[in-house]
Amino acid sequence: MPLVPVPKPTFAQKLKRFFMVDLLKGLGLTLRFNLGALTSRDSVAGKGIYTEQYPKVRPDVAPRFHGAPRLNMDPETHDTLCIACNLCALACPEDCIDVIPMDVEVVVAGKPRRKKVLDEFIFDTSRCMFCALCQEACPTYCLELTQDFELATYSRAGFVWNREMLEQGRETVKYES
């Protein structure tokens, strides 16, 4: 590409430089941001301050976010909804779910029958990639990936969630103030 002489500044450009219009514009911008932050009014798009006060105020994650798994229970009887069908374990591409069923004796129409119910449910979150295929596979809407994202633990063993953790949720520190 050829070299060309620098174009001479127009009179308007010279005036702009003389009165330092760009400097004043910049000062105006920063002042606008400052006042927007103080009044918490719309300075750019929506709010004055973008900082999320994370532990104090929990952020809203995206609606389709997949987080910690949970085993839902019947809201009235508090029995698990899981029927130990093992579909989630089969659906899991990472093989991180173990459904351990057990047989119980029940009486159906006066006759003794054996029924398969859930004994233990092992979910290894360290191997999980949160694809939610298990959630898709579940016929009773029992297994669900919630919006909870605080999954860190101090040991590898802590990543393996058992049935109790999956049903009750894991204890996390909640910050006051």
Binding site: M1, V4, V6, T30, N34, A37, V44, G48, I49, Y50
Partner: protein
């Protein structure tokens, strides 16, 4: 409220029971004043750091310190504690004694100036030296020595380069700073800071109106003198790590930090005194002192002074987060080719202005000067002429500066090239890398 304002009188009578009047007037009260000023300045310096962090955060749509105390208000205390317990590290082969002494020189040079700053009338000023302006200029220049010593003794290339830069910068801007003051002094006819405020108060005017050019030069030079952005080359993080205090840590580093903020407070205080009327504000005198509330008058004046200085301090932070850092040659250009001529032009024009006012006094029955014994007391006509000279000087200075720098290099490196490569790609087509042979 009034009980608090009556406190000085009560304490005075209490002290007079135990000590003679001379002791009370010349020893005990000054001690109380010095203690108050040092404490308040130190607190103000600490909270200036908080303000700086908050304002920078707000400008960048952040929140700033929020966790220590409500709205992070205890953050400076937490910072101070952290700095106190940090290791005081001395580099190998450092010049130990100089390394030890440098931060103290910086702090002393910054804080001692507070002795002559008139925070208010009467008891709100520690001492009224009759060469106050010269004292401030002289003592604040000692701050450069601290930076040079710190940079030299650290035995580090970054520190040394930072010290070199800062000394060059401070010396260049000292000149225009000193010259910029002269214009205001012509109207004040005194070097005492209290006297300068007194002249503005008795004339009911701010010297900003007489000396807009002087004010601008003083502010820019002050920012450069304090090594603050956009002139923070001595501490340019991207080039010099931290400049002259690279090797300092813990409490010594915090002393440098305090010195920097104290120097800022000093420059804002002096700018307020010289150009913004110091503690003078219209109608304060009539509403308080004239009605007999002397201590209320002093307290309100003190608040006025702090408000004015605070506004200027905000300007510091505002500029810092607006402007990018200058290049070194731009800095020197600005100092020697723009600030210095502007200061000289300001002196000449102010002198012509004062001369015109004096010449017109008594000419055709015009009356411009009331008296010259206590500053230049002007009649409304005289004030009009002085303000006209001041405002006209803005344009004259700008025009003359453009004339002086007509053929000088441009600040913009792009414009220094006589020819540029025009890159205009056809619109709507993806950019293609030029062939290697071209």
């Amino acid at each position: 409220m009034f009980a608090l304002l009556a406190a000085p009188t009560i304490i005075d009578s209490l002290l007079l029971r135990f000590f003679s009047e001379q002791t009370v007037n010349y020893v005990i009260w000054p001690f109380i004043q010095v203690g108050a000023v040092v404490t308040i300045t130190a607190g103000w310096v600490a909270y200036a750091t908080y303000l700086e962090r908050k304002i920078s955060a707000f400008i960048q749509a952040r929140l700033g310190p929020m966790r220590v105390g409500p709205w992070g208000l205890l953050q400076p205390i937490a910072d101070g504690l952290k700095l106190l317990v940090k290791e005081d590290f001395i580099p190998e082969n450092a010049d130990r004694w100089v390394f030890f002494v440098a931060p103290y020189i910086a702090v002393v040079a910054a804080f001692i100036v507070m002795a002559v700053v008139p925070f208010g009338p009467d008891w709100a000023v520690i001492t009224d030296v009759n060469i106050g302006v010269l004292f401030i200029l002289a003592v604040s220049s000692v701050g450069v020595l601290a930076l040079i010593l710190a940079g030299w003794s650290s035995n580090s290339k970054y520190a040394l380069l930072g010290a070199l830069r800062s000394s060059a910068q401070m010396v260049s801007y000292e000149v225009s700073m000193g010259l910029a003051i002269i214009g205001a002094l012509m109207f004040a006819r005194t070097l005492s800071l209290s006297g300068i405020v007194g002249v503005q108060a008795s004339n009911s005017i701010w010297f900003l109106l007489y000396q807009p050019v002087g004010f601008v030069i003083f502010l820019i030079s002050g920012i450069a003198e304090n090594n603050r952005a956009p002139f923070d080359l001595p501490e340019a993080e991207s080039e010099l790590v931290a400049g002259f205090h690279t090797e300092y840590s813990g409490f010594r580093w915090s002393l440098f930090f305090m010195a920097e903020y104290a120097a800022m407070v000093v420059v804002t205080a002096v700018a307020t005194t010289l150009y913004l009327g110091g503690w003078y504000f219209p109608y304060v005198y009539q509403l308080t002192e004239a009605k007999g509330y002397h201590n209320a008058y002093v307290a309100v004046s003190l608040l006025v002074f702090l408000a004015k200085a605070g506004l200027l301090l905000y300007l510091y932070f505002w500029l810092r987060w607006t402007l990018p850092r200058f290049r070194y040659d731009q800095l020197m250009d600005l100092g020697w080719k723009w600030m210095l001529p502007a200061a000289l032009i300001n002196i000449v024009v102010s002198a012509i202005g004062v001369g015109t006012i004096q010449g017109l006094n008594g000419f055709n029955g015009m009356k411009t000067i009331v008296s010259t014994t206590n500053g230049l007391a002007l009649t409304p006509t005289g004030k009009g002429i002085a303000i006209a000279f001041g405002v006209g000087n803005l344009f004259l200075t700008a025009a003359l500066l453009s004339l002086i720098n007509w053929r000088s290099r441009d600040f913009n490196l792009k414009k220094q090239r006589s020819k540029i490569r025009l890159v205009d790609l056809p619109k709507g087509k993806p950019a293609v890398a030029p062939a290697a042979s071209e």
